[in-house]
């Protein structure tokens, strides 16, 4: 990273091609291999796990810490409930707060971002129901927002009277500028079409899940503010462990992230950062004893639960230090590896990356050769199953075509390659420290052999 404004806070990465490890910031390869063999021995042998982005993976060391938290609860739950539980959660919050440069009062830990999304959506619902927002006031969302987040806002906000309008994020995409431009065009259009409606909230990803790309969120926040958007909610599900998070720099009202995806927490643990003026208004959707005592307290007790995963957050953060100098070194390593592997695959398949490397974190979209014959979501799902069952490869297969329900035509936005758009399917490869080049070679070969079948058939 440099002082260049285009990069600061948006992407820690410049275009990289080589898979060379930074000397001194990572455990040497042999030691790393031993660590991985020990820490990820619970992985199904023989399965190439190229989809860390979906569920993450928790190392043995952290699982053992989790087990010891569970043990304390099982030993004497009442004793644990009156004191140690709250203390443990405060430590977890403090560690997260330190990482994201925020005061601990503004950070809560909870089970996952699904809960946080429902939490914010509920707050919006009450605003409509109690007349603080008027019927038809708008919420900006991305067309590629995570499905569950879309549903949360449909279930609570739309139902209570919100008008949701979408930014269509270009994909394939060529640059951050292209994204910013599309955003601004949408805002201009919305303001023109609905001049009296206030845009109460903008919801967008830090790292889009599918199709994955890093969005220039600091600039997007400024852009939204300049068009009168009142509040900003960032779905940073993949954020922590991938990008440097500085809540003050980002400037959003709400930022949520899963700690179990890229930060080695057990299933499952997440945090929500929230600007202080909102804290007293937000409520965890599962109401329990601590309702009304403040958001942090509400998230500390949602009824009897297993809190061991959230309590293990500090151990997860510590784990990074066992193989990397710091979190930045760790995330840069994953980034460099995934870009190198993505380029290797694109080259072997004669395709391209869906985004430039600097918009990749530890995941990358790699175009599949057209002869793979994927022409729908269902096809993509079948291919994914086939790759899993026949080739022992776990990887997310994505169909990038949009079906126009009226005309029946399928379009794939493809500005990068001009009019050519016969690449309609992609894989989303992840790289986590347990991955090896051989696994990506196996993916390369599997796709080549399936593509051969496709070519023979035509």
């Amino acid at each position: 990273t440099g002082d260049d404004d285009a990069n600061k806070g948006e992407s820690a990465f410049s275009e990289e091609g080589d898979a060379v490890d930074d000397q001194g910031s990572l455990l040497p390869e042999t030691a790393r291999d031993h660590l991985i063999a020990r820490e990820f021995s619970h992985h199904l042998p023989g399965m190439a796990r190229l989809n860390n982005g979906s569920y993450g993976s928790c190392p043995r060391t952290v699982l053992e810490v989790q087990a010891s938290w569970s043990q304390r609860w099982l030993e004497q739950p009442d004793k644990f409930y009156f004191g140690p539980l709250e203390e443990g959660l405060l430590v977890a919050r403090t560690e997260i707060a330190r990482l994201i440069h925020a005061p601990v009062e503004e950070v809560v830990v909870l089970e996952n971002v699904t809960a946080a999304a429902s939490m914010i959506a509920l707050d919006v619902m009450w605003a409509f129901a109690e007349g603080r927002f008027k019927q038809g006031d708008s919420i900006l969302m991305l067309n590629c927002a995570y499905g569950a987040v879309k549903k949360a806002f449909k279930a609570y906000a739309t139902r209570a009277g919100a008008n949701i309008f979408e930014v269509t994020v270009p994909f394939p995409v060529s640059s951050s500028e292209q994204i910013l431009q599309t955003f601004e065009e949408t805002l201009v259009r919305e303001k023109h079409n609905n001049p009296t409606q206030q845009i109460r909230l903008a919801v967008f990803d830090h790292i889009v899940s599918m199709p994955t790309m890093i969005l220039p969120i600091s600039k997007l926040v400024k852009l939204c503010h300049s068009y009168g958007v009142e509040q900003i909610f960032i779905d940073g599900a993949h954020g922590i462990g991938n990008l440097n998070l500085d809540m003050q720099e980002i400037g959003a009202d709400y930022y949520m992230s899963n700690v179990h995806k890229w930060m080695f927490a057990p299933s499952t643990a997440a945090f929500l950062h929230c600007q202080p003026q909102h804290l007293s208004r937000l409520h965890h959707p599962i109401v329990s004893h601590n309702y009304g005592s403040g958001l942090a307290a509400e998230c500390a007790w949602m009824g009897t639960r297993d809190y061991s995963a959230v309590l293990s957050i500090p151990a997860a953060i510590q784990f990074v230090k066992t193989f990397a100098k710091d979190i930045e070194a760790y995330s840069i390593y994953n980034h460099k590896q995934v870009v190198a592997m993505a380029k290797m695959l694109a080259s072997a398949w004669g395709t391209h990356l869906g985004t430039p490397p600097e918009l990749c974190a530890a995941m990358a979209m790699v175009g599949l050769p057209p002869s793979i014959n994927i022409h729908s979501q269902v096809d993509a799902l079948h291919m994914r199953r086939r790759l899993r069952q026949e080739f022992k490869l776990e990887v997310y297969v994505y169909y990038a075509g949009t079906l126009n329900l009226e005309t029946g035509a399928v379009t794939v936005c493809d500005i990068q390659l001009g009019s050519q758009s016969d690449i309609v399917a992609y894989v989303r490869i992840s790289h986590q420290i347990y991955n090896r080049p051989e696994e990506y070679h196996a993916l390369r070969d599997a796709i080549l052999s399936i593509a051969q079948e496709g070519m023979l058939l035509h």
Partner: protein, 424 residues
């Protein structure tokens, strides 16, 4: 005796030297069920992408089917697994909230609650229903109490009075415990539901958090709209899992408070996925049911054993302390309310909490203590302290679970006697 061997093996995780007389709050899973849970968790860790489809669905379906059989539910589709009873209340509270917001209910339509309703449930209703315009109609349950008749009589009086004083207020929902948490007694739930319906209450939600494994559960006979019980309290499931039973006509409009991919597929579908989570406790439910059957033969024998024992211990304690039970033994399941000697000087819920802490730290006895608080205030005030000193009796709520021993109740007996002696 064989049970001793089972207990020593299965509850080896308990902190030694502690008289654990509070199974009611958090339960305790045996080692064999924990192992089963670990087995499920391992499958997830091995390959989550594959596990979250068929294996998870099949595991849920197996648990739901066994529960349906256990509670005499006519249809497995009326059973949903949730993380805990608190979540179950949230499901229904949300539905009531929408009814108010979308004007199916009018502002001021009532929700009937007991003053003894569980604190968290009161908060759920506050957070969703009262905020949306519902009116509280509170019923004060008698305690100490001498019979079911006494409860039914006073309940009907309250309904009759409400009908007379507020004839135009529709009672949209009644929230009733099957087993009150604190002060713990079994309520005559079948008759209470019938009374509610007779007096025009539209829907009834039974908070049966303690029920399964404690009392016989037959949802058809009870005939409530919603019936929710925790499985980790008295059915040996690991923390945490609960079931939610619901009359079929309500299923399509109910939603899980946490919205995820399955939103709109019905409550059953929605509860199958509330975002990436550890669902291993849900999947271990069949193992928990098996443990009951293996250990006691059947669930009735298991319940009867705990009940017999807790009553024995309760009577031993009141005899030693010169006090009384809070209700006749037939109103106790596996928990009993035992009056504490007045010389303990407990005159508020705060005093009771302090005494509880003292019993834990000084005497290694874990037992919740009860002192009545003002019911209405809890709904509208979050940190209400009792400022008036009343002369109610304080009680210990003792539980009996198969891992308990006689010596543990002696520890409680002696601790209380020692503390009582201080004031003389």
């Amino acid at each position: 005796m064989e049970l001793q061997a089972v207990v020593a093996r299965e509850f080896s995780h308990h902190e030694p030297g502690v008289a654990r007389l509070n199974n009611g709050s958090f339960g305790s899973p045996p080692q064999c069920v924990l192992s089963n849970q670990t087995m499920w968790a391992q499958q997830w860790l091995q390959h989550p992408d594959a596990f979250c489809w068929e294996p998870l669905e099949k595991g849920f379906a197996a648990a739901r089917q066994q529960l349906a059989d256990l509670i005499h539910s006519p249809n497995v589709n009326e059973i949903v697994l949730l993380e805990n009873a608190t979540t179950g209340a949230g499901v229904v509270a949300l539905d009531v909230m929408w009814s108010f917001l979308e004007r199916r209910y009018e502002k001021g339509d009532s929700i009937l609650m007991f003053n003894s309703a569980y604190g968290a449930i009161k908060k759920v209703l506050k957070g969703y229903c009262f905020r949306a315009g519902a009116r509280l109609f509170e019923y004060k349950m008698p305690f100490p109490v001498s019979s079911n008749q006494e409860i039914l009589q006073s309940f009907e009086d309250a309904l009759r009075r409400e009908k007379k004083e507020n004839p135009s207020k529709v009672i949209r929902l009644a929230v009733i415990d099957h087993i009150v948490s604190m002060p713990s007694i079994i309520l005559p739930i079948r008759e209470l539901v019938q009374l509610c319906r007779a007096y025009g209450v539209e829907q009834i939600y039974v908070d049966a958090a303690h029920a399964i494994g404690n009392v016989d559960v037959n949802v058809q006979e009870i005939d409530a709209d919603y019936y929710v019980s925790n499985l980790h309290k008295w059915l040996f499931a690991p923390p945490v899992v609960a079931f939610f039973h619901c009359k079929p006509q309500h299923l399509s409009q109910l939603h899980h408070p946490l919205v995820s991919h399955n939103y709109g597929l019905g409550l059953v579908g929605e509860s199958y996925w509330v975002g990436t989570r550890d669902y291993s406790a849900f999947l271990a439910v069949p193992a928990a049911i098996k443990f009951v059957n293996d250990t006691a033969g059947d669930i009735k024998s298991y319940r009867d054993y705990n009940h017999r024992k807790v009553v024995e211990m309760a009577q031993m304690l009141v005899s030693a302390w010169g006090t009384h039970l809070g209700a006749p033994p037939e109103l106790f399941g596996s928990m009993a309310m035992v009056g504490l000697p007045a010389s303990l000087n407990i005159h508020s819920p705060e005093d009771a909490l302090r005494m509880r802490t003292r019993l834990r730290t000084e005497f290694q006895v874990e037992v919740p203590l009860y002192y009545p608080a003002e019911g209405v205030d809890e709904i509208f005030s979050d940190h209400r302290h009792s400022t008036t000193k009343t002369s109610s009796v304080a009680y210990a709520r003792i539980s009996h679970q198969i891992y308990n021993k006689l010596e543990e109740y002696y520890m409680l007996r002696d601790a209380v006697q020692a503390i009582a002696a201080e004031s003389t």
